[in-house]
Symmetry: C2
Subunit: 209 residues, 2 copies
């Protein structure tokens, strides 16, 4: 598995979708109409049985579109769904354990929120680091402190791994976030506030155009 | 892995322990001073990283005592901790998926709450069924309806698998629960309301004496 490619890292947040009356699988389909560097499924409030069902359905959509698909938090769900990788938080299972399970070919991402975590992650068997929240975010229950564009630049300079910027990023922020050196940019709410396919297409143009 | 043996199935509920000011690992050690049919770790509110750390520590205690150790809900944590099995709820990953993962030698239990679920479980690759709540319980956030001793007898008659009775069972209930045909009886709070080692010893005498 190559590392995360430049461009848009789209996150389907099941709970954020449902809160807007959107069907998560339909949102995943909309996102996959444009070339993404990755698609991630986040389903914090679902049961495990619902998680694996949704992950399998989204995996099929992503596979058909040739887009790498990652499951948030849970390597077991990623494996059962046939996903291309998993995105881990600091409180999830350690990346080393997950790497031994998934083997060398799956992608593993790790969330980081300060330069200490970015430095510590240099030794971890991961393919990229999420770093943020770059701006204030509404889709996390207990967000870490905002790191800002200066923090993002510092993380890019410090990190041994490519950085995926995340957290409260709007479409109009994308040129500045890209200029700060992020390999890819993760969007959640910004893709849902409007037509998801159109928003994703506009984000990709801003990031790769 | 043989199926669950007659006797006491002790559950270390991390959150119930912490609510009483008890250290979960110390409670596990206390339980393991008596012969148990199984020891289960339940840690609903812990992070995954804390879950696997606690599960590894409890696994070592159970292994030293020769007691089968199961992790609640999560087969991935069970594997990482080297547990002997996993206990699944109706909303957890399907037993068939978990069996393929864990292989034939680990124990898999499945919670059931009515005769329909008991009947449906006949085709599942599990080693025993939990059935309950037999009485009103305080350690589940959203408990299923109480089944009572009559419900327990009906489940024992219907089930293709041994039944572990669970839910709100006090020490004084054990003779009646045993008489209803449960293979083993799971206790949570009843072992914490007093000295855990003494309560467990008393429960074992009531169940096997």
């Amino acid at each position: 598995m190559p590392s995360v490619q430049p461009g848009l890292y789209a996150i389907v947040d099941r709970d954020a979708c449902l809160a807007r009356g959107l069907e998560p699988l339909a949102v995943a389909r909309a996102f996959c109409t444009v070339p993404l560097s990755a698609l991630q499924l986040r389903a914090k409030r679902a049961t495990d049985r619902d998680r694996v069902g949704l992950a399998r359905a989204v995996a099929a959509v992503a596979r058909a579109a040739g887009i790498p698909f990652l499951v948030n938090d849970r390597a077991d769900i990623a494996r059962l769904a046939g996903a291309d990788g998993v995105h881990l938080g600091q409180d999830d299972l350690p990346p080393g354990s997950v790497r031994r399970w998934l083997g060398p070919d799956r992608m593993i991402g790790l969330s980081t929120h300060d330069l200490g975590q970015v430095g510590a992650a240099a030794a971890e068997p991961v393919d990229y680091l999420g770093f943020g929240p770059v701006f204030a975010t509404s889709t996390k229950e207990r967000p870490s402190p905002v790191v800002g564009l200066d923090g993002l630049r510092a993380a890019v300079a410090r990190s041994a791994h490519p950085i995926v910027a995340i957290g409260g990023i709007r479409l109009e922020d994308l040129p500045a976030v890209r200029a700060a050196g992020a390999r890819s940019v993760a969007l959640v709410s910004a893709l849902l506030d409007g037509n998801p396919a159109e928003r994703a297409a506009r984000a990709v143009r801003l990031l790769l155009g």
